[in-house]
Structure formats: structure tokens, C-alpha cells
């Protein structure tokens, strides 16, 4: 699989909201209050107001369901979502991968509407960091 770097995304989260035990597992919602992203083709900030709707499954794996709005430094808005999984018990090293998707109306960034991407996540002291690559 060939890929090309798209951006590094850093997220700031507020205190998680523990919804608790629900039919599919344990639900925890992480409000996103800001962040930044940077890549060769786009950079800017994460607007407050999104979130990651996380379910911890019975097998211990976290399922991620993120929705945020990106604001590029030239003012374009990009709707971003990802599904993902985080398995801290994976053999060897934690497995934290996501499948981001983008929507924008700005013609300069319409390439985002037509690509699939893969992110590799990690939890830093300041919050989650995702290295996102375009699938070529």
C-alpha cells in the first residue's frame, strides 16, 4: 500500500463524559475543545465543539467515532470524521489506527473529498496525536 503524509493532527480534549454501560459496551465521550493540524498541503486549527464518541467493547478494544471541524489557516472549513480502533492490549505495541474522511466545499481542498486515509494515533501528554496519511 502506497501512502503520502497528509497531516499531523493534535487534539485537545475536555474531561471525558462517562455515559457508562450501554448495549454495545461502555460509552465514553471525549469533547474536543481545540487543536491544530499541519501538513505540506494544509495547516490550521481544530475548532472547539467536536468530539470522539468512544465505545469500549467487551473484548477490551476501544472503538472510536470522531467528528470535528478543521479551519485551514486561509479560512476554509473542513468537516472531518474518523472511525478507528485502539487496542492497548495488542501484542507487542498498542494498536491505535483510524480511517479519516473529509468533506469540504472549498475548491482548493476538494482533493480531500476524493481520498481515503489512514491515521496512526498515540496519546501524548497534551492529548491525542494522529499522523494521517493519504492512501494513494
Amino acid at each position: 500500500m502506497r501512502t503520502r503524509p497528509l497531516m499531523t493532527l493534535r487534539l485537545s480534549t475536555a474531561s471525558p463524559q462517562g455515559i457508562g454501560s450501554v448495549p454495545h459496551g461502555t460509552r465514553i465521550t471525549f469533547p474536543i475543545i481545540g487543536g491544530s493540524f499541519e501538513g505540506e498541503r494544509l495547516r490550521g486549527k481544530v475548532l472547539p465543539g467536536g468530539g470522539d464518541w468512544v465505545i469500549k467493547r467487551a473484548d477490551g478494544v476501544l472503538e472510536l467515532d470522531l467528528r470535528i471541524t478543521l479551519e485551514i489557516d486561509d479560512g476554509a472549513l473542513v468537516h472531518m470524521t474518523f472511525e478507528g480502533i485502539r487496542n492497548d492490549g495488542a501484542p507487542g505495541a498498542p494498536y491505535f489506527r483510524t480511517l479519516p474522511r473529509f468533506e469540504t466545499t472549498d475548491a482548493r481542498y476538494s482533493f480531500l473529498n476524493r481520498l481515503l486515509a489512514v491515521g496512526t494515533g498515540e496519546i501524548s501528554a497534551d492529548g491525542p496525536v494522529h499522523r494521517i496519511e493519504e492512501i494513494l
Binding site: T3, D59, I85, T98, L99, S110, R114, V118, E133, I135
Partner: protein, 149 residues
């Protein structure tokens, strides 16, 4: 991004159900008549009965939403659901629509399969993400599916 081959999967398309113009684009459902898959860790057949709920968007991109059931050669059932995108130069897309063979490098056909199974031998599939490259043939697509490492 490191990845490793999970399987190649050939899907046989049955009929096309043309729903037509819907709020998000033009909806065509391709029913799945069968198929087979093979990889280092699993092999078997695609059960008839699934489908690909395709949506042609206003910007010319085809969104794919495939749901099928795999049956491994030792009897495990695996639910596969994948979202994907297909688009390319008008001449390549037109040739595909005519059922012609087109070099898969000439257009973008990528999907992100997710798996669910209750069979312990294949439980690793519940815990991985994957990416597939598609090659649209007249009788159905061939997917090369790689696990994202």
C-alpha cells in the same frame, strides 16, 4: 504506513438495482452472487446475498458501501463491511461502465474493510483496520486487502 497482505477477494456481482436519484446522489445497489477469497491466514468463499450500496455523488465520485458474509474453508462466518471511493478520468470511468478491462492504476478504487466474527480462530480480524485496492472487472471487482500494521 506498514501493511501486510490479508487476502485477495474476488466478488461476483449479480444484478443491479437502480434506485435512481436520491437526496445524496444516484443510488445503485449491486447484489453479490458469490465469490472467493484467499490469503496467508484465511481462505474461503463469499456467500451470496450481500450487496454494494453504491452512491454516485454530484462531484462524480462513486461511494461504495459493501456488506457481505465470508465463509472460511473451516466453516467460520465473517461479516465484512467496507466503505470505499471510486473515481478517475472520464474516459476510464466510461470504459468501466462499458464493461471493458481498465488498468486499475488508471483510476482510484480504494476501500476500508472492517470485519466481525465470533470465531475465536479469526478474532484477530475484530481488532484490525485494513485498506483494499480494487480492480473493477466486467463480472465483479477483485480486491487486494492489506492489514494496516
Amino acid at each position: 504506513m506498514d501493511s501486510r497482505l490479508l487476502m485477495t477477494m474476488q466478488v461476483a456481482v449479480g444484478g443491479a438495482q437502480k434506485i435512481g436519484a436520491v437526496p445524496h446522489g444516484s443510488r445503485v445497489i449491486a447484489t453479490i452472487a458469490g465469490g472467493h477469497f484467499e490469503g496467508p491466514l484465511l481462505r474461503g468463499r463469499v456467500l451470496p446475498g450481500g450487496g454494494d450500496w453504491t452512491l454516485l455523488r454530484g462531484d462524480g465520485v462513486l461511494e461504495l458501501d459493501l456488506r457481505i458474509t465470508l465463509e472460511t474453508d473451516d466453516g467460520a462466518l465473517i461479516h465484512l463491511a467496507s466503505f470505499g471511493l471510486r473515481h478517475g478520468p472520464p474516459e476510464a470511468i466510461a470504459a468501466l461502465a462499458r464493461g471493458e478491462s481498465v488498468d486499475p492504476a488508471a483510476y482510484y478504487f480504494r476501500t476500508t474493510p472492517r470485519f466481525e466474527t465470533g470465531h475465536p480462530k479469526y478474532a484477530f480480524l475484530n481488532r484490525l483496520l485494513a485498506v483494499a485496492s480494487g480492480d473493477r472487472r466486467a463480472d465483479g471487482p477483485i480486491y487486494t486487502i492489506a492489514e494496516i500494521l
